[in-house]
Structures are given as structure tokens and as C-alpha cells.
Symmetry: C2
Subunit: 188 residues, 2 copies
DNA sequence: TTAAAAATAGACCGGTCTGTCTATTAATCC
DNA sequence: GGATTAATAGACAGACCGGTCTATTTTTAA
């Protein structure tokens, strides 16, 4: 992996674990095994640019994962269920350390860092649009609100899952998927 | 207001706006207009103790508010709707700066600060229990899962609301309250 | 009134923060 | 092969971090 990618990956991981403010430049470069000069070579904008790159990376990675899970499922329900399972696996295999970095950064940056907030919004828009497209691919209406409601509940469940160190909130979300999709047969 | 209370209130506000890690001791005491000695007099445990006190304050404040809204409503639906309205008001009147501090701190501390994580869990337990009791008071079963589902969705909606600087996610939650309560007539 | 306790006040410490700067090495291109 | 650019390397700066410590002032209680 290139030095640039390594910086982005390390940043993404640390942000996922403890947020943006608590993640330091020195920590990032140490874990990436690179000098500070390299970091400012690839990201002249400093920490903010690096965080935005990490968000972008996460946007692509998860967007692809969403699409793959939907395409590999025979129904929309199964697809959404697969997405939740993806997070369940992510949380359990990381001992509930790897949450959704978007939510963390969103809450940290909402009032203080407009540039980062824009990045967060961009990621969310991407996921919603991708989910709509996938739902339509599965013969659903693919209403934007359906995707939004799903992601809203998912974000809430991810918060609760980390609080209680339990996948139960995500399991409960899975139980509600059918209900959530029942209004997605016609356009609104 | 006492010096101690002022410290707690300032801390709670700053944490709500930008999280725990980005909020510094010096910033807190400056805004509270107190010297550092006073802060460590009331909170010998330092930042962690102060954060926990802020969480506790928020727990009580919001717990009371929940109960009041439920008691002042004729139905359970109306009560939950009132709780959502409370957050809508909170967000709009603060220009979407005042989110849910519990979620922010939860995500920041999940893997790094066990003491704070415990505090977060305690707040959440308190809210859930209070909500269950209020639902029973309104003639509902007051299943724990009903309260959990509501709060889960609420937390998700609060994240989305701050991302999009819009109350729409919370308005959408209100539309789902009836559906959410439909399984709370019998115990499970 | 005086002794003890509570609260205020802020200098100070070692460490870390982001970010800048100057070299030096490695790769690329003509 | 020589010049130009990319990348690595890390010393350094100035600010700020959480936290400790010693006074001083205020309040309380005997």
C-alpha cells in the first residue's frame, strides 16, 4: 500500500475508534510509520484534509459494500438485512471499537468545522443515493425516504450498540426491515 | 448559580456542541469565570469526573423533561411526539449546535474511557426505564423494547438532523410513533 | 474572636498539539 | 547522466493540554 493510502487507512481507523479530536497527527504518522514531512506532502491542508480523505475512503468502501450486499440478495429485505449483518460483523470482530466514523465526526464537527461537515454530508448523500438505486434494482420504488429511514435507524442502532456493547439494537433493526419496506412499493 | 453548577453547565454545553475531546479544561474554566483551583476543588478527578457530572446533569434534566411531556399528554403517542418536539425545539433554537451529548460522548469514549462509557450507559438506562414507566402510566404495556426502539430511532434522527441541519429526520420519526407503539399493548 | 475548613487564585510543570522549515534521499524525465 | 520533481526525514516553534502545587481569601463553626 502506498504511503498516502496508509495515512488514510490509519486515520480512518483511529477516527472510527475515538473520533477526530482525540486523534492526533503524531499518532497517525507513528502508526503509519511515516515522517511528518510525508504527511504534509500528501495533505498540505493538514488534519482537516486528512480527515476528509478518510471520510471519502470510508464512503467508497461502504458504498461498494452496500451495493454488493444488495446485488447478492434475492430480495430487498435480504439486502438490507445483509447490510446490517455487515455492521454486526464489523462491531463484533473489533470488540465494539469500530463504529460508524461518519456519525462520530458528524457530531464532533457539526458546529465547529464546516469543511468536515460538508464531507460528512457528501458521504451520507452518496449512501442514500446508492441505497435508493439498489432498492429500485430489486423492483422497489426506492423512495429516498425509505433509504433515509433505514440509515437513520441504522445510525441510531450503531450508537446504542456501542453504548451497550451489544448487537441487539442491530438485531432489532433487522426485525423492522419488512415493516420499513412496506411503503416502498409505490412512489410518493 | 453555584460555582460547581456553573462548571457543570458550561461543560455540558461545550460537550454537546463539539464533544469531549475537543473541550478543554482551560476553555471550561474561562467560560465559567473560575480559576483552575476551583475546578479541581470540586472535581478532584479532573476532566473525567467533570464530564461524568455533566452527563449526570443531562440525565436528570432530560429525564424530567421526558416525564413531564408524557404526563402532560393524553395519549402515549402524544407524549412521545412531545419528546421529539422537545428536541426539535432544542436543535432549531441553537441553530443545530445542541445535539445529544450522550451520543457524542458514547462514540468518543466507547473504546477508550471505561469510566465515561459507564456514565453514558447509566444515563441511557435511566431514560429507558423512565420511558417504560411513563408508557405504563398511559395504559401501555411499557415494554422495554418499545422504549429502546424509540430512543434508538431518536438518536439516529438526531445524528441525521445535525448532518443535514434539518428537523426533517425528527419529523419523520414522529410519523412512525403510532407504528412503533402498535406492539405495546401486550407484554412480551 | 479565633481556629479550621472551604473556596478562590493562578503560577508552573512536563507533555502533546498542529503546523513550518530545511535537508536529504529517491524517482522521473529529457 | 544531469536536472527536476517527488518523497522522506525530523528538528523546531508556539500554543495549548491536563494536572499539580502553593498561597491567599472567604466562609463556617466553636
Amino acid at each position: 500500500m502506498s504511503s498516502r493510502d496508509r495515512l488514510v487507512q490509519v486515520t480512518a481507523r483511529l477516527i472510527r475508534e475515538k473520533g477526530m479530536a482525540a486523534t492526533g497527527i503524531n499518532e497517525i504518522i507513528t502508526e503509519a510509520g511515516l515522517p511528518k514531512g510525508s504527511m504534509y506532502h500528501y495533505f498540505p491542508g493538514g488534519k482537516e484534509e486528512l480527515v476528509k480523505a478518510a471520510l471519502h475512503s470510508y464512503k467508497e468502501w461502504l458504498g461498494q459494500s452496500f451495493k454488493a450486499r444488495m446485488k447478492g440478495s434475492s430480495t430487498a429485505e435480504e439486502g438490507l438485512c445483509g447490510i446490517v449483518d455487515f455492521f454486526i460483523h464489523d462491531l463484533t470482530s473489533s470488540d465494539f471499537v469500530a463504529g460508524c466514523p461518519v456519525a462520530t465526526v458528524a457530531l464532533e464537527s457539526a458546529g465547529t468545522s464546516p469543511g468536515v461537515s460538508d464531507g460528512v454530508r457528501e458521504v451520507m448523500d452518496h449512501w442514500i443515493a446508492g441505497l435508493c438505486a439498489s432498492l429500485q434494482y430489486k423492483g422497489r420504488a426506492g423512495n429516498k425516504n425509505t433509504a433515509i429511514d433505514f440509515i437513520t435507524h441504522l445510525e441510531g442502532a450503531l450508537v446504542m450498540a456501542r453504548i451497550y456493547q451489544s448487537t441487539e439494537p442491530l438485531e432489532r433493526l433487522k426485525l423492522k426491515i419488512t415493516e420499513l419496506l412496506q411503503n416502498d412499493y409505490t412512489t410518493s
